[in-house]
Structure formats: structure tokens, C-alpha cells
């Protein structure tokens, strides 16, 4: 092997492995944040409606601070190498998407769009070729949201809140219709989409239980008309 070539290759590989180390540091940062947020979000299952805003309020600043970390990442990643490195942080990113989407749901009972999610997470459009929110990661985050909402439907009833399951049901059905539009491969997303069907089934069962027990005051059941809890 040519000596100069050898050295050039060596330099490239060293740079690459340095870079990997630095990226990993940033991701550790991000992981600490998502772990904290998920830990706090976990409390929604035992929190009464009136205390939810405070809970969400405590998470928001942490969520906002993610932008900084993504900014750090964007500085590290060389131009056009988004797809080269993204596997390293996609798990953390999906968790962050889940958190952002859950907070939006808890606040407005609505869906955070991809664009809005990216901006909530502080991911800037101009980083497109280095750090971006892909449709795939966004969709994984939403599936995480549905998983958690099916648990929430059960637990809000335990806490005596019989209207929330109806709202969850309406929201999740809409989301399911969206997912049904996609042509998926036999990949992870497909498998998670399949699992989503079980969440919907669970939610339907809760709705069935509370409907039949006539626990919903007449006239309030159209989801749109119910005030946020």
C-alpha cells in the first residue's frame, strides 16, 4: 500500500472516530434530558386534571433546552452527513418527539405537526443536511404517544375522569386513519403500527365500559365540545 495513502486513510479514520466520540457525548446529554422528561411525564397516570398544567409546565423548559443540544450536534456533523450519523441519535430523538407530542395533547388535545415538533425541539430548517426530523422518526414518536394514551385512558377512569377516554378515542382514531394511509415495508415501523392496533382496541374497551355505565352526562360526549381537563 502506498505510504501516503496509508496515512491519509489513517487520518480520515481517526477523525471519524473522534467525531463519533463527540457525537456520543452530545447524545448522552440528550438522553439525560429525555430520561428526566419521561420520568416526569410518567406521573400523568396518577395526576388529577387540575394538576396537569403544573406538571406540563415543569417539563416545558427541559424540552426547550433540547434545541441547544441539537444545535451542538448540528455543529459537529459535517455537511451532507445527516444520514450517516442519524442512527446514533434516532432513539433519543423519537423519545423527544413523544414528549413534545404528549405535551401538546395534554395542553390542546391536538396533534403537533412535524413542522411544529421540529421547531419545539429547536431543530432548524437550515441544518437539513446535518440534523433534521425525518418523517420516520416523527411517526415513531407518535406511535409512542398512542401507546401511552391507551394507558392514560385506563388510569383517568381510575381517577374518576370519565370524559378523557372519549377524547383520547377520538384523537387516536384520527391518527390511526392517518397511519392507514402509509404503505409500510415489513420493518420496525410496520411492527409498531401493528401494535398500535392493540392500543386502539384497549381504548375502545374503556369507552365501551364507561358508555354502557352511562357515566358520561348526556350531551357532553362529542369530543370537540368538552373543555380540556
Amino acid at each position: 500500500m502506498d505510504i501516503q495513502d496509508l496515512e491519509k486513510l489513517n487520518d480520515m479514520l481517526d477523525n471519524e472516530s473522534d467525531l463519533r466520540e463527540k457525537i456520543r457525548d452530545k447524545i448522552n446529554d440528550l438522553d439525560k434530558k429525555t430520561r428526566t422528561m419521561v420520568g416526569n411525564l410518567n406521573k400523568i397516570h396518577s395526576t388529577r386534571p387540575e394538576s396537569i398544567p403544573a406538571l406540563v409546565g415543569a417539563i416545558r423548559p427541559v424540552l426547550a433546552s433540547c434545541g441547544e443540544t441539537f444545535g451542538g450536534l448540528a455543529e459537529l456533523i459535517p455537511p451532507h452527513q445527516f444520514w450517516r450519523w442519524k442512527d446514533m441519535w434516532c432513539h433519543s430523538l423519537r423519545t423527544a418527539v413523544f414528549v413534545a407530542a404528549m405535551i401538546e395533547y395534554l395542553t390542546n388535545r391536538g396533534l403537533l405537526s412535524l413542522q411544529a415538533t421540529a421547531s419545539t425541539l429547536g431543530i432548524k430548517d437550515e441544518w437539513q443536511d446535518r440534523v433534521a426530523l425525518s418523517a420516520e422518526d416523527y411517526l415513531h414518536g407518535l406511535i409512542g404517544l398512542v401507546n401511552e394514551l391507551s394507558r392514560l385512558a385506563v388510569n383517568t377512569v381510575t381517577l374518576g375522569n370519565f370524559e378523557e377516554p372519549l377524547r383520547i378515542s377520538a384523537f387516536v382514531k384520527d391518527l390511526f386513519a392517518g397511519f392507514s394511509m402509509l404503505n409500510l415495508k415489513n420493518d420496525v415501523l410496520r411492527r409498531r403500527f401493528d401494535s398500535l392496533k392493540y392500543d386502539i382496541k384497549k381504548i375502545e374497551e374503556v369507552v365501551y365500559d364507561v358508555s354502557l355505565r352511562k357515566l358520561v352526562p348526556t350531551g357532553t360526549s362529542e369530543a370537540g365540545q368538552i373543555a380540556p381537563m
Partner: protein
């Protein structure tokens, strides 16, 4: 080098064979993709419709029709591949052709199920792979038929679960449960003859348990009330739409 002419012809033959093999592999991938998209289409159309769970309802027939139209593309591809599979060639390239063909059969049998609530027959599948004069493009094997049809049970499981919350979804789960249970029983006797069918049967068994669990949930939930499941469904629906 007196043997060269002979070997030159061997080379041509081998190159020819490899090129054909490549073409068939590519076509098989394309067919697989279309079939998969068709399956998603069927799920989508039928679940969006009015009466997805009523036997031979207009909406199911409509969904099946849309699926069939998409599968026409595949039939055209097989028609154009006909010369690649002429005579004995289907048998030579079976391993390249089968994956796409089985996926096609899965999609076709799903459309058929939506329309007729029955399992598509061997002959019905073969009929979709014939020219205007009824001459088959290639001989359909039992193995491809059974393995493709076996995959249908997985899609039916998805159909039963995701339709669960809709009106009639609970009794649909019970119907699909019976259908899949029969498929599993009928296919069993073929397992000694068809390679890999046992593996597919295990997958069917798993799907069946999932459907049984759904059917069970439907019965248990409604058992606290003295009304039929359908009447309960109606109550809930009325309730929610009030």
C-alpha cells in the same frame, strides 16, 4: 485449444441463464411491492367504509374491486414475463418467482375474502394468471397457493383487531376467528407435503390466538349486560354520537 467453440456455447448458455434469472428476480421484487401496496389499500378502503363488517356489503365489494384493479398490474407483468417462464422454465426459476407470486396470492386472496367471505380456490388463482384463451402463463403450484393463502391469516388478524372498535367489529372478530380456525385445520393435512408450511402454520396459530383473545374480550365486556352484543354496540354508538 480445440474445445473453445463448445465452451463458447456453454458461456452463452450460462450468461443467458444468469441474465434471465436477474430479470426474474427484479420482476419478483416489483410484484412484491405492488402486492404489499394492494394489501395496505384493502385495509384502508374497507376500514374507511360504512359497513366494513357486513357480509357482501357494497363497501366490501367496492374495496375488493379497487384491490383487483391494482393487482391487474401484476397480472400484466406475468403476461409479459410469459416467455421467460415458457415450458419448463417456471420450474427452473421457481426459487426466483415464488416470493413475488406468494405475495400476489396473499393480496388476491384478501380481496377475494372481502368480497365473498371465503377462501379463494386454487383454480380461481390460476384463472387470474391465464391469457384470454384460458392458457396459463405458467403452472401454478400447490405450494405457492398454500403458502400465499396461509399469509392471508396474518392480514385477517390485523383486520379483526383494527376493526374491533367499530360498529359490528366485535362480531366480525368472532367470524374471522372461525374462518382462520378453519383455514388452520384445512391446511394442516398438507404440512407433510409442502416445505415451510409448518412454519406458516405456527404463525397462523399465533394469529389465531390473538383473534381468539379479541373475541373473548368482546364477550366478556358485554357479558355484564342482558342485551345482545349488537344491541350493546348500537347503544354505545348512539351514546357517542349524541
Amino acid at each position: 485449444m480445440s474445445f473453445l467453440p463448445a465452451f463458447q456455447s456453454f458461456r452463452d448458455e450460462l450468461d443467458d441463464h444468469n441474465d434471465r434469472r436477474e430479470r426474474l428476480i427484479k420482476a419478483s421484487r416489483d410484484i412484491t411491492n405492488i402486492a404489499k401496496k394492494t394489501i395496505f389499500l384493502l385495509h384502508r378502503v374497507v376500514l374507511e367504509s360504512e359497513n366494513p363488517f357486513e357480509d357482501r356489503s357494497a363497501s366490501r365489494i367496492k374495496a375488493a374491486k379497487q384491490g383487483r384493479e391494482k393487482l391487474n398490474q401484476v397480472q400484466e407483468m406475468y403476461a409479459s414475463l410469459r416467455h421467460e417462464l415458457v415450458g419448463d422454465r417456471y420450474w427452473r426459476y421457481q426459487r426466483q418467482v415464488s416470493p413475488g407470486l406468494q405475495e400476489y396470492i396473499e393480496a388476491l386472496s384478501f380481496a377475494h375474502f372481502l368480497e365473498h367471505s371465503t377462501l379463494i380456490t386454487f383454480q380461481q388463482v390460476q384463472d387470474t394468471l391465464c391469457d384470454a384463451d384460458g392458457n396459463p402463463y405458467f403452472p401454478l403450484t400447490i405450494s405457492d397457493y398454500l403458502l400465499g393463502a396461509s399469509d392471508l391469516t396474518g392480514e385477517l388478524m390485523r383486520f379483526a383487531i383494527s376493526g374491533f372498535g367499530k360498529r359490528g367489529g366485535r362480531s366480525n372478530a368472532l367470524d374471522v376467528c372461525a374462518f382462520v380456525r378453519n383455514c388452520k385445520a384445512d391446511f394442516e393435512r398438507f404440512t407433510p407435503y409442502v416445505r415451510d408450511l409448518s412454519k406458516k402454520q405456527s404463525v397462523t396459530a399465533e394469529s389465531l390466538v390473538k383473534i381468539e383473545d379479541a373475541a373473548y374480550a368482546a364477550v366478556v365486556r358485554s357479558s355484564e349486560y342482558d342485551l345482545s352484543p349488537d344491541m350493546l354496540d348500537d347503544l354505545v354508538t348512539t351514546y357517542l354520537s349524541n
